[in-house]
Amino acid sequence: MPRLSSLWNLANPTRFLGLADRLLPWLAALAAALLAVGLYLSFFVAPPDYQQGETVRIMFIHVPAAWLGLFMYVMMSASALGTLVWRHPLADVAQKAAAPIGAAFTFVCLVTGSLWGKPMWGTWWVWDARLTSVLVLFLMYLGIMALWRAVDDPGRAARAVAVLTLVGVVNIPIIKFSVDWWSTLHQPAAVFRIDGPTIHPSMLWPLLVMALAFTVLAVALHVAGMRNEILRRRVRSLWLMEAERLDAGAETAAGAAR
């Protein structure tokens, strides 16, 4: 099975580092180009909304940030399965690198939502099902990041975090369907619907380009974060080796002095 074995080879941290070094400049350039096109479309091509006026332009960052907040959590959950089922170190690394990126996008979603809500709804915040479940997602991310820091051994931390992550995945469908299951101030889905998007193409296309730009950016940041985490683990193990060597040297010197 050549395909499976090449996937397994890719999962080798050293091979992953080589691939990340080659891939990252291209991903960064693609993200920058897509962001430039997306911002141009959002500000100069998309028309103002007939009700919301120019304020609708907040949508072009708020909605992609929300998607990415969810996407990174799903990514983290898939990696958590890799940690618990296959005990693969690269899955641990993928989990750990995804958390701060997901937290950052969820934070952007919450704050831009608040900045959009004040002029449109007349309030910064309401405890409705959509807003509250996204806040819970943000708190889950913070909890996961805290747990990573609380346990010294990376392998043990990964297993504890994986269990917490998989428990928290129940919040993802709650976020998605909160606007259908409960009466919320937040509007229902307008893009991913069974009967098709309800947004006019003049606004849908800039939104999709911005979403693609955010996704490529998040993937680039995730690959960079995974690369850093592999290097951090190498530095840690080398420090431990050096400390052991120094200890052994000190013991030999003490023995000789006796």
């Binding site: 050293t14 120019e54 952007v108 704050v111 900045l115 850093n228 290097l231 193990s237 080398l238």
Partner: protein
């Protein structure tokens, strides 16, 4: 932009720029620091077993 809510729009984009810029900067600074730390350790003769095997070949 003469919209009465321009402040909200500018604040949203500025915050997003800051957060995304912070993520990128953190990744770059961390990567440089880790590479430097690895080089310093290797210069002191501390090497991973697999790296020693590669050198021996």
């Amino acid at each position: 932009m003469s919209d009465p809510h321009a402040g909200f729009i500018i604040a949203s984009y500025a915050l997003t720029g800051l957060v995304v810029g912070g993520l990128v900067l953190r990744a770059v600074v961390e990567h440089r620091a880790l590479r430097r730390a690895l080089e310093q350790l290797e210069a002191r003769g501390v090497r991973r077993r697999s790296a020693r095997q590669e050198t021996a070949r």
